[in-house]
Point group: C2
Chain length 280, copies 2
């Protein structure tokens, strides 16, 4: 007998991983949480049957969500992560000399399941600088003003609980929750499959932030294998960041070279966010 986990990436596209063992399945207040031991990717976390992270490729997403904004900000001390209950982004954030990392995850069960089944990913939860808030990220951000140097929105897809995290109204709250030199990043789906979403997010961000950028990361378990991350910044520009701090980090994907290269967008992606822009 063979068992396969299948994600319907669209009505016309599926990715399937052979499951060696089902480690965990539950229905939380918010979603189905499942952990599978797969032949290809090691342990795999699925929420509502969508792959969130795997042991083998998690480093790409977590490094790129954390290090690009933290190296861009000249001196990040207070960091907020929205979502990200697996702990992977937090684990990367604390590689920097930050003072406080707040994690605001709506589903406390995701945190508990990941502590149990993904010890390497959730290792950062033990750090004394980390404070966990099991709460709605939209509300949490709305109640904070000028407090954070960096906010990282590590959400699920824009359906279900995470839908509001892709709205212009939310990005306005994020801007208000940031300190005067603050910046934020959020995962913004696939350039191949979600071009319209990326376009409309960037139109909104351009109305709110003086500096708006898009960068890319290669994540095999996400649809199309190429993922976009959007940045809105009040001042610092990732394209002119001092990359010395990138050099001391212990990473497997991110480097100073990757920091520069990830903003080199394929032409069709560049045209999504800056229509009519002449070619560089």
């Amino acid at each position: 007998m063979q068992c396969w986990f299948t994600e319907n990436q669209s009505p016309d596209l599926r990715i399937s991983c052979r499951v060696k063992k089902v480690l965990h399945q539950e229905r939380s207040e918010f979603q189905e949480i499942a952990v599978y031991d797969t032949g290809q990717y090691g342990r795999l976390l699925a929420l509502d049957d969508v792959i969130m992270t795997t042991d083998r490729d998690e480093f790409v997403y977590h490094e790129m969500m954390a290090h690009v904004p933290l190296v861009t900000h000249p001196n990040p001390k207070r960091v907020l992560v929205i979502g990200g209950g697996d702990g992977g982004v937090v684990r990367e954030v604390i590689k920097h000399p930050v003072e406080e990392v707040h994690l605001c995850e709506i589903d406390g069960r995701v945190i508990e399941v990941c502590k149990e089944y993904f010890p390497a990913i959730s290792a950062g939860y033990k750090d004394p600088r980390v404070r966990i808030h099991v709460a709605d990220g939209i509300e949490f951000v709305r109640q904070r003003k000028g407090q954070f140097d960096v906010i990282i929105v590590d959400s699920t897809d824009p359906v279900g609980p995470a839908e509001g995290l892709f709205r212009e109204e939310f990005y306005r709250s994020v801007s208000k929750a940031l300190a005067p030199e603050g910046l934020f990043v959020g995962q913004t789906e696939s350039p191949f499959f979600n071009g319209d979403l990326i376009k409309s997010i960037h139109e909104g961000l351009n109305r709110i932030f003086p500096v708006v950028r898009l960068y890319l990361a290669n994540i095999p378990t996400y649809p199309g294998g190429l993922w976009s991350i959007s940045m809105g910044s009040k001042q610092a520009d990732p394209l002119s960041a001092d990359l010395k701090r990138a050099e001391g980090l212990k990473t497997r994907y991110y480097s100073a070279e990757v920091h520069r290269g990830c903003f080199a967008l394929p032409l069709f992606v560049k045209q999504l966010i800056s229509p009519g822009t002449p070619r560089a």
Copy 2:
């Protein structure tokens, strides 16, 4: 009833595309050739049940296989494409002011099927500069000396008919078939799944060519979505290419910016081809 085409990307990983219509299936002298009309990617060419190209994402691979080497070479006039029977690389090559493009494809049926079912991809076959040779690429290259400015090896995976196109002996023949300032590129599989292959290819190339480089392209229908292309050059270095010629090309993925960015390798990929190299 629903029909799905499934590629076994590994014993543990599958990608499946919903098939609206089976347009063609045959067994040629060398392989199974199939064309499906899919919901996700439009028309899809499969050889031995492995996705070769699709209408929706073919531009990425074909542009990156052609324009990076042709812009790197200071004045390419004579170009050879090995494999590439769909014609996509040829279509991109003839956007440059070359004098001759030779295509050497082992399976003439692939050419005929693509002329019929992929008119946009195979459009370049009509150009008078293009000469088609239905022959074994290994033999073809062995018989040529100092003739080509650029050789592009657009092969299937290193199993079956294409196996010899990944051997050091073949790369030595390629070097001899190149003019004194010549260079070649070849598709060299996935950095996530075929790291050992890429490492050993680069060890071989470093014994043959003064300039050896690796670059990446994002191709959703290839395993992991990230693909590597290797370059061996007798003189010209893509990192110091004059990118003015990149600007006039009609493309959707490639640009001067992408030319620079595609050589910015994720750290784990960089370490594959230059172990022990300090971080940039």
